[in-house]
Structure formats: C-alpha cells, structure tokens
Amino acid sequence: MKAIEIKNLYAGYDNKVTLENINLVVEEREFLGIIGPNGGGKTTLLKILLGLIKPFKGEIKIFGQSLDKALSQIGYVPQYSNFDLNYPINVWDVTMMGRMGNTGLLKKFSKDDKSIVEDSLRKVELLEFRNRLVKNLSGGERQRVLIARALTTKPKILLLDEPTASVDSKTGKNFYELLDKLNEEITIILVSHDIGAISQSVKKIACLNRTLIFHDSKELTPEMLEATYHCPIDLIAHGVPHRVLDDSHLETH
C-alpha cells in the first residue's frame, strides 16, 4: 500500500515558490531520507504534510485518503535543539502533550491516555526517566522524548526533522536501532541537510532543492547531489561511517 502519494505539488510562501512540481510515492513501512540544503524547501514539504500550510496546487494522498482526513495518522518529531531548555517540564508531561488532540479541550486525560503515554515512553526506553526534567536530559534523550510524544498519537507515518544521530551512553543503544525497530510498524520519513545523518537505516534517499530527485532507491549518485546542491560535493569529507554511495561511484571518484 502507498503510504504517501504526492502528485504535481507546488508550494511556497506569499508569491515565492519553494517547491516545484514535486512527485513522490512512499510505500508503507518505507524508511525514506530526504536531504537537501537549507532553504531548499524541506521545511515547506514537512509543513504541508503536517497540515500547517496549504500547497498552491497538487494532490496529496495518505493511505489513499485526502491529507485533511489523514492528518492524525502523521506523527511529528521536531528538531530537539529548537527547545528552550529552561522550561520547567518533565518527560512525562511533554509526552502527554501528544494526547491533547484526542482528548479535546477542557477534558481530563483518561486512564487510556496514561497507559498510551507509558507504552510510548517504554518504546523509547525512557519510562524510568518519566519524572526527570527535560533540561537534565542529554540531547539524544531529549530527541527520544519527542519521538515518544509523536508515538502517543499512534501514527502510521513518522516525520523527523533534522534528527541528530547519537549513541546514548546510558542505554548504549544507537538512535538508528530505535528507528529501525519503529520502522517495523511505521513508515518513516527523515529530513536533513546533513548527508552524514542519512545512515544505513534509510532504505531510500531523495534529494530536495526546489525540485525533488528520487529514483526509488538507496543509491545517491554524485549527479543527484550536484543537481541538489549546485556544486560538486566530496562525499567522503563528512566522515560518514556508512556507505551511502554505490561502490562503483566511490571508485571512480
């Protein structure tokens, strides 16, 4: 089944077009990485899929439904570096926020809400940190809280904005192991300007800079990157531990 189907999408702000003729099909349980430079339209695409802005034209289907009807199936994990660390709030309360859309205004959280939050925190292995203040967490832990919050809406698709890969010293687990596990049930789209952040976990890669280049594969060719970043890019310079490129390309490089 197709999780996401985007056809001839144009979008932007005011009169400025930042996305031009985007076409994309994402299969269910896919793990797609979208890379592109800052200002290349990644945020616009995310905001459209989250229902925060409307496209100029084009069609979007989520599991065959229109986007408006399917918004609740999409979970969002924002950049954790955007948050004010001084905010006095603990892990439990941040995760609980995810349930607000389901309970409605002025209603209390139910037992179900609480057990869903518990499950979500268990999945990201932060249940024992439930009472800890967000400011006392490591960057990686903070990111996992935001993933737990997104999971409380029981999404079928997870959107991650500029995640940072980090090995957590406490659990010893790689961030990508967590995503791999979630990917068994959930379609994941990860957006980043950093090629290094696109790892082994990603099953497919697309390049976005106003237009989207996607060959429905994991292969990232120098041609794709050049078209996206408008300059030749040394793929090895990032110190990427994972081999993203097709080997033949590396040898000719």
């Binding site: 999409i74 924002p78 948050f83 006095p88 709030i89 926020m97 859309g101």
Partner: protein
C-alpha cells in the same frame, strides 16, 4: 513597627500587593517561559491611550486602559496569524502610538488632570476599597482561566508548532493568553504604574524558573516572591519616605541580582566537583 497598620491606606496597600502578586506570579510565569516580555511591554504602554481616553470621557481610566490593552492583544494576535515579518517593529509602533494617544487625549481634557503620574509610576498608597474588589475579581478570573486551560497553555508555550499539528485552536488559545496578560497589566497599573509593571511581571518568574520543577511550582514561587518584594518595598518606602513603586522594583531587581549571583556560584562549585 506595627503602627503602620493604623493607617487604612497602608492596609489597603498591603492587601493590593497581595492580590496583585497572585496575578503577577501566574501570568508572569507564561510571559517568562514564552519569552514575551516585549509584547507585554507593548500591551502595557498601549494602555496609556485608554487612560487618557478615560479622563477625556470622564469615566474610570482603568476601563479605558482595559479596552486599549485588550485591543493591543487582539492586534498582536492578528499579526502573528498573518506571520508578519515586521511583528517586532509593529509592536514598537503600537507602543509609541498608544502613549501618544494618551498624551493627546489628556491635552483635550479640560482642567487639571489629577493623578496622571500615578498611572505612569504607580501609587499604591491611594488605592480605595472599590479598587481592591476589582482586583480580587480579576484575580479570580485569571485563576479560573488558567485552571481551565492549564494544559493547553503549557502546550502552546512549550511547543506551539507541535500543538498546531494536533489540531488544537492555537491562535485562539494564544489570543486568550495575550488577553489574560492584558487584564493582568491593567490590574497592576495602579500598583506600580505602566512603566514599572513589566518588571514585576517578569522578575519574580525569571527568578523562580531556576528553582522549580514544574509550571505550577513556578507560579507558586513567583507569587510568594511577588508578595515578598511588594511588602518589603512598601515598608522600605514608608520608613525611608521613598516613592513606593520605584522602591518595590529596586527590591525586586536586587533580589534578581542576588539570585543570579547565587546560581553562578552554584555552577562554579559544580564544576570544581
């Protein structure tokens, strides 16, 4: 030292600072965590236009201030919805325009305008019983709204964009929060005046944020700090014969400096260990 309680005006002043500290502490907590001190300043200064209008029309200037500050809250909220790039500038313009209107209205008001200075710098010693009752009712209103919307306000002040993706009416909630700030500012104008109101709205909460583990405890600690600052300031101003509003603010700022010093010492000690 208790002879000051013989004076009704002093008793009223102490009750007023208690009532005001409640609203200060609760609303100031949101102002500080959401970092909207400047926006609150804009709302406060725009209220001056309403005070002038009140004098011109011969009604209680507080009602004029209420209308102007609620109008300012609505204006800011509309601008945010349109995602204006000039939000900052427009708030500055609104700020100045409100003040200018106030001066203009007072120019047109025939005769001598009595306690105009008290609206600018505050005069807690002239608060009549009727004003105390208004303060009390506004306190109840602030507490009621925050009890009802605690979760929603927490979510929009922590992560507005995410709250939007959940389908919550973020713009309306934000407007409600701004209106709450507006009402609180008007409530406090008599106490310390427009110019100093921002200090009491932000200082107790910006101290307490470093010592608490939740928004609720931040509100409570801010209320306690507010009561301490206003009471100490009042007593000092009484015994040293100083302007009450300014004394309260200086006490608050002194406490802020002490707290900052304390925190930086704590950090250093932590590093040494």
């Amino acid at each position: 030292m208790f002879e000051i309680f013989q004076y009704d005006f002093m008793v009223n002043a102490l009750i007023a600072s208690l009532l005001a500290s409640v609203a200060f502490g609760i609303v100031g907590t949101y102002v500080v965590v959401r970092k909207i001190v400047f926006i609150s300043g804009g709302i406060a200064h725009t209220a001056y236009g309403g005070i002038g209008l009140g004098y011109l029309l011969g009604i209680n200037p507080i009602f004029g201030a209420l209308i102007f500050s609620l109008g300012a809250a609505g204006f800011i909220s509309t601008m945010r919805k349109k995602e204006s790039q000039f939000e900052d500038t427009l708030i500055g313009i609104m700020w100045a325009f409100g003040m200018a209107l106030g001066v203009m209205f007072i120019n047109f008001t025939p005769g001598y305008v009595p306690d105009l200075m008290s609206y600018l710098f505050g005069n807690i010693l002239t608060i009549p019983d009727s004003e105390l009752i208004i303060m009390f009712l506004l306190d109840l209103f602030v507490i009621g709204i925050v009890v009802l919307f605690f979760r929603e306000f927490q979510s929009i002040t922590f992560d507005e964009e995410y709250t939007r993706t959940l389908g919550l009416p973020v713009d309306k909630l934000y407007l409600l929060l701004l209106m709450l700030i507006a009402v609180t500012i008007v409530l406090l104008i008599k106490l310390v005046g427009i110019i100093l109101v921002i200090a009491l709205l932000s200082i107790p909460s910006s101290i307490s944020i470093n010592y608490v583990k939740s928004l609720k405890s931040m509100m409570l600690l801010s209320i306690v700090l507010g009561i301490v600052f206003t009471t100490v300031g009042l007593l000092l101003s009484y015994y040293l014969n100083l302007a009450s509003g300014a004394t309260i603010i200086i006490v608050a700022v002194a406490a802020y400096l002490i707290s900052t010093l304390h925190l930086s010492l704590k950090k250093k000690r932590f590093k040494l260990v």
